[in-house]
């Protein structure tokens, strides 16, 4: 069975990486749909950039506690915490001041990322610290991924998918009409927290592979591409999951074949190809279909007596 597959002979590790990145892509595409529809795409960008100081601080905490080498769960926990803190800052600023959300996002994102970059260079200058691996979180790396890590990634991604499946109707209501949901007594801020938790889950899962700079692309690009294909939310989720999964899988394969290519960037470029193809050729809302429809309508004008 395995021999028939195109990636046969690549070894157990590559197969694991492939499975992990595919699962990540599926989860990111699906969860990303709600961020796009709720117009929160940039919040997830702030979240991912804001994970950097958390990663470095978690590394320092591990060092102080005497943890052997770099402990991935500890680093990811730090990433999730500082990402969540950044989102809380953005929400506090937009709630209590008159600053528009995009300005709040810009300010918070750059503040956290700047802090992360400074902390990172400080840590790398420490003589005792073996901080070489930390830089991998910025642009991602799959070459160094162990099977256990890939499996963790797949589990995190599946958890995010399960969350979307379970709360599909609540997320749809929240994204479409928050005011109505609140009037009907739905705890919308808890929904939002849940949605941000799903995004955090996907972001943290993708940090190692895609890296914190580009993970936004895996969340947003498949969702944006899928919107061209359909007017049904359920189908949009499926298409976005498919595009995300294919991008993750194909990207991982390409970067395994050509050793020097960074996996995160390749995955994102594959997703961008899907986006471009959808933009032009999707039958429902693509530019080509739209042009043809208009041309046909114009022709029918001429045919009329």
């Amino acid at each position: 069975m395995m021999e028939a597959l195109p990636f046969a002979g690549m070894g157990h590790n590559t197969a694991m990486v492939l499975a992990g990145t595919t699962a990540l892509g599926i989860a990111a595409g699906t969860v990303g749909c709600f961020m796009v529809l709720r117009r929160r795409a940039l919040v997830s960008d702030a979240l991912s950039h804001a994970t950097l100081p958390g990663i470095v601080i978690a590394f320092l905490v591990g060092l102080a506690l005497g943890v052997e080498g770099r402990s991935l769960p500890l680093l990811l926990l730090g990433a999730a915490l500082s990402g969540a803190l950044a989102v809380a800052c953005i929400q506090a600023i937009t709630r209590w001041t008159r600053l528009p959300e995009d300005a709040a996002i810009g300010a918070v994102l750059s503040c956290f990322f700047g802090l992360g970059v400074v902390l990172l260079s400080v840590v790398q200058a420490l003589p005792a610290a073996n901080a070489a691996g930390l830089k991998g979180f910025i642009f991602g790396q799959t070459a160094a991924m162990r099977s256990g890590e890939a499996a963790t990634l797949a589990v995190l991604a599946l958890a995010a998918l399960a969350g979307v499946a379970l709360f599909f109707k609540e997320l749809r209501l929240l994204a479409f009409d928050e005011g109505f949901a609140r009037a009907a007594g739905w705890p919308t801020s808890r929904f939002d927290l849940g949605l941000m938790a799903l995004v955090t889950l996907v972001t943290v899962a993708g940090l190692q592979t895609v890296g914190l700079v580009l993970i936004i692309a895996l969340l947003i690009t498949p969702a944006a591409a899928a919107r061209f294909w359909t007017d049904r939310l359920g189908i949009m989720l499926l298409v976005a999951g498919l595009i995300g999964g294919l991008s993750g899988g194909i990207g991982a394969l390409l970067s395994a074949r050509f050793q020097n290519l960074p996996a995160g960037a390749i995955i994102v470029l594959v997703a961008s190809c899907f986006f471009m193809a959808s933009l032009f050729f999707a039958p429902a809302r693509g530019l080509l279909a739209r042009t043809l429809r208009r041309a046909r309508l114009r022709a029918s004008l001429g045919a009329a007596p």
Binding site: L37, R98, L166, F167, K169, E170, R172, L173, A175, F176, D177, G179, F180, R182, A183, A184, G185, W186, R227, T230, D231, R232, L233, M236
Partner: protein, 262 residues
């Protein structure tokens, strides 16, 4: 159906003869940024009937509705629905927001939107069943939109979109309805449909509180008015309230020509 009953009984409706108002607002004040948008509004809605909330632009009509529903924070004041705090009575409330408040390009069809009115009865993490879709179809039928159930909402006209929003509120099967300008900018056919539905709701003993901008149609359609101009100007039965003096209080001098309405 059993579950539906169970969720409904959480809300409390006193017997009709107990004289408890469906909505009682006490000392409601709302501030936007530096100034008061509403000052100290106290009012009790009559049981069963159509109430128009009227007043000039910027009088705080929508703000009143949103503050009552808890969608904008109140500076002070309490809101009770059938004698209990609003938070315990959410299941008795139906809401038609302003049409402009949502993105009509959203990937859902008319039936999806109407079914959202049933989510409270369906409950957390549960699937939408055929029974709820049938209830959604019935609501669409009541507003004459059954033929458009599978249409993506962006492909509907403004009037049709407004009817979908009304159908969603009907699907909520509420006792007390809040509607924010349901007749604003709709075509004549839609206006007739909406007015007919409002009268049906009234005949069923429900209470409808409607922000309304068009004084011309108030007397013909509504039983009561709540007249606002950043505070309560007057409230009561239409016939006695739409007086020259009240209109001048609410609208200023330029309203004197409207006195023919009363």
């Amino acid at each position: 159906m059993a579950m539906l009953q169970r969720l409904r009984t959480r809300n409390f409706i006193p017997p009709a003869d107990a004289g408890v108002s469906p909505l009682s607002v006490t000392g409601l004040s709302v501030a936007y940024h530096r100034q008061l948008a509403l000052r100290d509004v106290s009012w009790a809605a009559p049981t069963g009937g159509l109430v128009a909330v009227v007043g000039p632009n910027g009088a705080g009509k929508s703000t009143f509705l949103k503050a009552v529903l808890g969608l904008v924070p109140a500076l002070a004041g309490t809101v009770e629905v059938y004698g209990r705090p609003l938070a315990q009575q959410r299941g008795l409330i139906g809401y038609v927001p302003q049409r402009e408040s949502v993105d009509w390009d959203f990937p859902v069809n008319a039936l999806d939107v109407v079914t959202m009115g049933r989510y409270g009865m369906i409950g957390w993490g549960r699937r939408i069943t055929g029974a709820h879709k049938r209830a959604g179809m019935e609501a669409l039928d009541r507003v004459g939109m059954a033929d458009y159930a599978r249409r993506q909402i962006g492909q509907l006209s403004g009037g049709q979109q407004q009817r979908v929003f009304l159908a969603r509120a009907l699907a909520q099967e509420a006792r007390l309805y809040f509607m924010d300008e349901p007749l604003a900018g709709v075509d004549a056919a839609t206006e007739q449909t909406i007015l007919a539905v409002l009268r049906e709701l009234e005949a069923e003993g429900r209470t409808v509180i409607c922000v309304h901008h068009d004084l011309q149609t108030v007397a013909a359609t509504f039983d009561h008015v709540l007249m606002l101009n950043r505070t309560l100007v007057a409230a009561g039965p239409v016939a006695s309230m739409l007086t020259d003096a009240n209109l001048r209080l609410a609208y200023g001098q330029r309203a004197s020509g409207l006195s023919l309405l009363s």
